[in-house]
């Protein structure tokens, strides 16, 4: 518990609330310095061996400042390597990654085909900050694998996205021949690995959403208290107060679920998927209200409202959309309650 507070305090000091989306490269360095790349690395592998609650706390803080450093994909990539039972140079990779080299898990589906000769062509989507990646952890039809970004038949193409706090690349494969030494799992192992990585990704994204939503709410409350119309602070208008109260209520309840899931090692995969769905829904709701309650200023790039909204909209699509996740949660609950 104390450890968690320390993590949070340190994060808030390193990334102060008044500086949204600080420069990526410096943030990434700071992230490495803080030891956050090693938080979830087991102690046996030279890491800190902290649990989900710790990483959730960090992702929450990074969400709060709309961090541009790709800590979530980095953590997931590292975890894939940790989990791997087939990677040849596992120890070497772990050392490199915890020292700051970057091998992200991609956060959007891979649309690839495997030719008869085993080469792979197509696009692996959602590679955050591909420009600084030495390799990408990709889920291919043949299993999870590390794909070095400088390998033959591999190209990274940046895709312009609405969210200015992050950068996304496609990993474009053209007859890429996967290196057997870099396989992280075979086909059978892929499902098990997916069951590990999926909930981690969802938990991290939910934390990002709720950190962001909390910051968005605070900014909105502050603005309403400051801005005057019709000779009074607009915070005095009850209709606006009630809307802010609903923002607060939804954030706080969803946050309670976040911590409850983060602390529960038994939480089922779809329980965490449902949390991610709910958290993204709340984040969108909060940022929509934020824009409306800010009035005209919220529609200008000069103000920071839109950064929250655009991040919320992107989070809705990462690792499964709201529709997709809710449908699966519903299906699963239905089956369970048969």
């Amino acid at each position: 518990m104390i450890e968690l507070n320390e993590l949070t305090d340190a994060a808030q000091k390193a990334f102060p609330a008044d500086k949204l989306s600080p420069a990526r490269d410096a943030s990434w360095e700071l992230t490495a310095e803080m030891g956050w790349l090693m938080v979830r690395l087991p102690e046996d592998d030279g890491g800190l061996g902290l649990d989900r609650e710790a990483s959730t706390a960090i992702h929450y803080e990074m969400g709060r400042v709309l961090s541009s450093a790709p800590l979530i994909p980095a953590q997931l990539g590292l975890q894939a390597v940790v989990e791997s039972k087939t990677l040849a140079d596992r120890a070497d990779w772990l050392e490199r990654l915890s020292a700051g080299e970057y091998a992200p898990l991609h956060m959007l589906p891979a649309k690839v085909e495997v030719a008869a000769n085993g080469t792979v062509s197509g696009t692996v989507g959602g590679v955050f900050d591909g420009d600084m990646a030495v390799a990408v952890v990709a889920m291919l039809p043949t299993g999870y694998t590390l794909i070095p970004t400088d390998a033959q038949g591999v190209e990274l193409t940046e895709r312009q996205i609405w969210d200015p706090s992050r950068r996304i690349f496609d990993l474009v494969l053209t007859g890429y021949a996967p290196d057997p030494a870099l396989m992280l799992s075979d086909v059978e192992g892929a499902a098990a690995m997916h069951d590990v990585l999926g909930p981690e990704a969802h938990l991290a994204l939910a934390a990002d959403c709720l950190g962001g939503a909390t910051a968005a709410l605070a900014m909105t409350v502050e603005y309403l208290g400051m801005r005057k119309q019709f000779d009074r602070p607009i915070a005095m208008f009850q209709a606006l107060k009630h809307r802010v109260a609903d923002m607060k209520t939804r954030i706080v309840a969803t946050e309670a679920l976040l911590w409850s899931r983060a602390r529960d090692p038994e939480a089922a995969r779809l329980q965490i998927a449902g949390l991610k769905a709910l958290a993204t829904d709340v984040y969108q709701f909060v940022t929509e209200e934020m824009i409306q309650l800010h009035g005209g200023i919220g529609l200008t790039e000069e103000h920071q409202c839109h950064l929250f909204m655009k991040r919320a909209m992107l989070n809705l699509q990462l690792c499964g959309s709201l529709d997709w996740l809710n449908e699966r949660v519903g299906q699963d609950a239905l089956a369970e309650m048969a």
Partner: protein, 397 residues
């Protein structure tokens, strides 16, 4: 605080009790108000005997002296086992108890506490027709007189929304003894025997067919001064003790019950062949997660109370989260049930997630209106948690 091993031991003890003593078919035995009262009294007596009815009372009472963490375990298990809620004895074991325990004289305590354990039913005479969420605006008038050499209050007025007053033996009564100064200042707190001449009770016919509440009419009701709790004119402070006596446990319990009752929605989806309807699956999935969040926030609220770090407004957030989810739950049921739900089915008295969807739907409004409406909770959250300005006290148009 109690350590985890102790809590788990208690948990399995409670489970053992519930396995053996869970009242079978209590819903069918609650289809009329009278049956409901019967069922409730029997269940309360069983819990008193087992030592689970008043875990929050002091240790001198059998079954008392439990930590909040222990209370939570007991409530959780009762909810998960889908046993009846202790509705009829709620006012006596929580509201009356807290009032007596914190504010009453030793004589009053000695007289009433044991009677509560024996099953005496209490009701609360706080709300009035004109006051609503503005409780302190109450008008029920008490005049101090001497009658037959005894100092008494003579009370006239009307109370409303009194839970189960029609079955109550005693009433926690707020009256106005003065209209000077701020409205909170002239309020006095009395303990009234419901059999006193001049007291009449009339149940409120609720729109879903339940009669959970009643009106109390007071016509020259004579109450001895000894029945006063606290000083004259200081009743408002006593009322705060009454009102603060419980919230967290109930909402946690209700959250778990709603979580369990999600299986009713699942059954409905199957019954109406909507298993392949992706829209319905999504709506159900979203509801499942929302209900999970309600359980989590209610849990967290209790944990914070246990740790002593509760803040103003926390309870409002729990209440509004719960009532929002309850509404969504009931509305989904009404929608999926279609025309079937427009035909009247027997209700279960005093129950919330009954699967009689129209009744549940209408009943869900009790949660956004009673006990401080959703709107009042929003005010509290905005003004007292987020420190936004309060509504102006004085104004001109």
């Amino acid at each position: 605080m109690t350590d985890n091993a102790d809590l788990e031991a208690l948990r399995s003890e409670v489970r053992g009790f519930l396995d053996a003593e869970k009242p079978a078919g209590w819903r069918d035995a609650s289809r009329t108000q009278e049956d409901f009262v019967q069922t409730q009294r029997g269940w309360f007596a069983k819990l008193v005997k087992a030592g689970y009815a008043i875990p929050h009372w002091p240790a001198e009472f059998p079954g008392g002296g439990r930590s909040l963490a222990e209370q939570k375990v007991i409530y959780e298990e009762i909810a998960k086992a889908d046993c009846p809620r202790l509705l009829l004895s709620f006012v006596s074991t929580y509201h009356a108890f807290a009032t007596l325990h914190e504010c009453a004289s030793e004589e009053q305590k000695a007289k009433y506490m044991p009677r509560i354990l024996e099953g005496e039913t209490w009701c609360q005479g706080f709300s009035e027709p004109g006051a609503g969420s503005d409780l302190a605006a109450l008008k029920c008038k008490a005049v101090r007189e001497v009658r037959d050499g005894q100092e008494v209050y003579v009370v006239n007025g009307q109370k409303v929304w009194s839970t189960m007053a029609q079955f109550a033996d005693m009433c926690l009564l707020l009256v106005r003894t003065s209209s000077e100064g701020v409205k909170q200042a002239g309020i006095t707190y009395l303990l009234m025997d419901m059999k006193t001449p001049g007291v009449s009770v009339s149940p409120i016919h609720q729109i879903q067919g339940d009669e959970e509440f009643a009106e109390i009419f007071l016509d020259n009701v004579v109450i001895p001064v000894e029945q006063r709790v606290g000083e004259e004119g200081k009743g408002w402070a006593v009322a705060q003790a009454t009102l603060a006596s419980e919230r967290g446990l109930t909402l946690m319990e209700l959250g778990y019950r709603m979580r369990g009752a999600l299986s009713r929605v699942a059954a409905l989806i199957r019954e109406h062949g909507r298993e392949q309807d992706r829209g319905v699956l999504r709506d159900f999935g979203a509801l499942v997660s929302e209900v999970d969040a309600v359980c989590a926030i209610a849990d967290q609220f209790l944990d914070n109370r246990i740790k002593g770090i509760e803040r103003i407004g926390d309870a409002s957030i729990v209440k509004n989260s719960y009532s929002r989810a309850l509404r969504a739950y009931a509305k989904l049921g009404v929608r999926l049930g279609g025309m079937d739900e427009q035909y009247v089915k027997p209700i279960t008295f005093g129950d919330l997630n009954t699967g009689n969807w129209m009744a549940d739907f209408m009943n869900s409004y009790a949660w956004t209106i009673a006990g401080g409406s959703e709107e009042v909770q929003r005010n509290i959250i905005a003004e007292r948690m987020l420190e936004m300005p309060r509504e102006p006290k004085h104004w001109t148009l």
